[in-house]
Subunit: 140 residues, 2 copies
DNA sequence: TATATAACTGTCTATTTTTGTCAGGTATTT
DNA sequence: AAATACCTGACAAAAATAGACAGTTATATA
């Protein structure tokens, strides 16, 4: 049960973007340097984040990325949704009926319930929450 | 964010074991047939489950596995702990200080919090709960 | 207008993890 | 003794992950 580094990178990159932003665009290069994340890999993530309406791109010199919405309107679960596929813990639900003992369906309730908890927890936090926490840490 | 099939198999196998048990031991072969899980793979899982004090083995003809404890004392999180390493969503905490912008630490709080939720949810369910649910489904 | 900058795009690849398979060995009941 | 079933370790296919690479396109500024 691991959150992929893809998701972790995406969240970290966006917190970094918001911390360093000051309104203007922040280049992927800068985020890559700050966060020690491969530039090429970040580019792939930001393509998805742009398509997912999390960020807007600004081309040309001095360009980069800005948040597409206020930070307090960007939930963590949205971020993860845009870069990876699912927060549901199992693929499940093929339900081809091949199992005659049917403990499969009994266990589904665990994973569905777990998925709900994961979702609601991540939906309860916004990028703004994390950024405030990050700022607090920087002051120490 | 996926629960590994290893963990899913372990939980399903134990529910199946408890459903088909009737006090006596159930062979891995039977569970394998019922659940359509590779016999060899199940063997590997049950080695861990035995070491984790979840099941006891009974050797010889008519042998198999029995629960080492009453089903209502076996929590789902225990099961998953014994077959896979972690319920903490990130590897994290290397904390080599290489990141000067330090959004890394800010995001850790998300994953730690998430890990807590996952843990407490899975700890709130026992094998007995799942088995009852399985029995209910069989009656329909 | 030229040039530097930085986003954009698609393809390819090395590595790791997952999910098993296979070939035997060992213990125990009948 | 023989059948049953657990036990063990080595090996392997397949998928996911993380990232490299080689370009193309858009735009601000000199």
């Amino acid at each position: 049960m691991r959150m992929s580094t893809k998701a972790q990178y995406a969240v970290r990159a966006l917190v970094s973007l918001n911390l360093n932003g000051d309104g203007g665009p922040v280049s992927i290069k800068k985020i890559s340097d700050c966060e020690s994340i491969s530039l090429n890999y970040l580019e792939q993530l930001f393509v998805k984040l742009r398509r997912g309406q999390i960020v807007r791109s600004v081309r040309g010199p001095g360009g980069g990325y800005v948040l597409a919405r206020p930070a307090d309107e960007i939930r963590v679960d949205e971020i993860i949704d845009t870069v990876e596929e699912t927060l549901v813990p199992v693929s499940c639900m093929e339900n081809d009926g091949s199992c005659n003992c049917d403990s499969r369906c009994a266990t589904q309730s665990v994973w569905v319930g777990l998925g709900d908890r994961i979702r609601s927890f991540l939906a309860s936090m916004t990028l703004d929450d994390l950024t405030r926490e990050g700022r607090k840490r920087l002051e120490l």
